[in-house]
Amino acid sequence: MKQFVNFVRKEFFHVMRDRKTLLILFGMPVAQILIFGFALTNEVKNSKLIVFDQAKDPASQELIAKIEASRYFEVERSVMNEQQMEAVFRQGEIKMAIVFPAGFNSGLLHEHHAQVQVIADASDPNTANMLSNYLSAIVMDYQSTRSKSLVLPYRIVPEVRMLYNPQLKGAPNFVPGVMALVLMLVCVMMTAISIVKEKETGTMEVLLVSPFKPILVIISKTVPYLILSLVNVASILLLSVFVLELPVNGSVLLLFGESVLFIITCLTVGIFISVKTDSQQVAMLISLMGMLLPTVLFSGFMFPIENMPYPLQLFSNVVPAKWFYIIVKSIMIKGLGFEAIWKETLILAGITVVLLVISLKSFKIRLS
């Protein structure tokens, strides 16, 4: 036991001494939380719009003023012809154009009917979709202000309640994701690279000939990363509670317990990669492409899994981060207890055991 503590202490020295890497390790979750929390929103506002007004009558002016007043649009400028419109779109700043045909007002007055043309830069389809919806809503609104009849009969009034996240913030969706990503990064990449580095520089041999079980050597290398990861979990939770004002609705203890399970999964993957590779660059590439990319892709926090083709959906089931993401979301956001997530926990534990067996086996083969 004393030997083990000694080994762990040596590993800690290694980790603590590399200040630059340490800074990144602790800075990473902070930066991610800040970016996801404040910079990335799917909300669309202040989009630039151009007007091609061939009518120039009271109705078109009123409607333009109404658009200008909404928080979704900024009327950037007016154009005089179609060519100008195209040129402006190509410069990239303008996302939307509205075209009033001549005689807009008189059409409304005399024929009870008029047209407007709404052109969206659909190279970004989602934004185009949302902007079209907003602009239509404004036009509709204007139309009803001109309408004489006041109260419609037979009204169905939908009452919408947003569960868990009434303000539709991005945070509840990504905080669990950031957690999975950071743990993955620290545990898989750092562990794999630091073990491979000892192989590359030859110090691994020295450790392996010591009167100490080889597997304990490996385990002692993972302990600092386990602790670092727990510190990261704590800092992510603190940031999310105090900076993003996103409380932990479920049990914190349960959350940490599940995190430890996931960290062990990641460490196992890290060990496996390190056993299989001989150079830091290869280890990095494999952890990057083999683990990190799937985590980002298939955990469900950045990309909607249900929109993926079926084979990819199927594949997402073997990505540990997916299950961890569901678990964290359930505990943290929905405030559910263990009875709601035992299935996911079991799956995660199963994956861990399988990985552990595989890496122990290949480690033994490597030694003999």
């Binding site: 009917h113 008029a114 043309q117 709404v118 659909a122 949302m130 009969p153 830091q280 290869v282």
Partner: protein, 372 residues
Amino acid sequence: MRTIRFLLQKEFRQIFRNRAILLLIGVMPVMQLLILPLAANYEVKNINLSVVDHDHSGYAQKLVAKVTASGYFKLRGYGASFKEELKKIESDEADLILEIPEGFERNLIREDQQQLFIAVNAINGVKANLGGAYLTSIIKNFNEEIRIELLPPGRFNPGPVIEIIASNWYNPLMEYRFYMVPGILAILVTMIGGFLSALNIVKEKEFGTIEQINVTPIKKHHFILGKLIPFWVLGNIVFSLGLLVAWLIYGIIPIGSLLVLYGFLAVYLLAILGFGLLISTFCDTQQQAMFIMFFFMMVFILMGGLFTSIDSMPDWAKLVSRFNPVSYLIEVMRMVILKGSGWRDIWPQFGIITLFAVVLNAYAVINYKKTN
């Protein structure tokens, strides 16, 4: 000039002998371009809907039929209690509950007004927002239909109607892939260029070969150029490969001129490689360089406008993204490939990226110390 030739020869030999790099160049473009556009599909469809129907009237059934026929919703449950259906939301089986209260049809006709309850799982804000909006607009349509059905013709005058003709330029079918692929291409060259250049000088430091270089009469800028050019060439190769994949698989052919595209890329690559070299002059080990680069890549990519538009960011984030070279490349890629923008449209971005290239490389040359 001769010195550079020898440096280049050496770098190329090392690159082509490095399994990791070849793997990166070969597998990354294919992986990213094949899987990412498939995975990064943000179209909101297939929203899982649960209905709690306390009314069981003809209108209630009509409404549910209309909702499911819209194509946006999948009916996942049809239950009698809200509590039961809420469990489906908790377990992520359902995203949305539509609750039809008892006496829905009766009250609507007798009292002119009736409520409906919609509960949305709002953890995913976008989906919740769009899902809720789709559902309310379907209900609104349903409402109109009922009104027309119930009202004798002529009694109800709807007032003037503004007809909206919507057109979607540059991507009329609203294919999300067309939007993603140029962005992913940008990410691809950035990652390859950034990581390879960041690791390169550090590797020489770790192996001690840099000492040998430092006692030779090689000039600093020669050395940096010798490192830059090979990765610049690689970046171009990877980009061309990516364009080819985009054409073969997604049928995306740049509308704008290839000359503009490659011209911008040429300068952009210099900027991102200079950034990588700069990082490697600051680091002592590959591990450090890797993590620092990873950190910046993450920030650059997340804030580069690949997934969410920069326009909707808060002001401070917009300011940060001005210092993010990746955001310019993503923007220009989309402009040239999808909209056919030309030199005149992209010159502001071109100017800025040139500035990036000059500053970053100058800094890297200065910071690369042959002596201490």
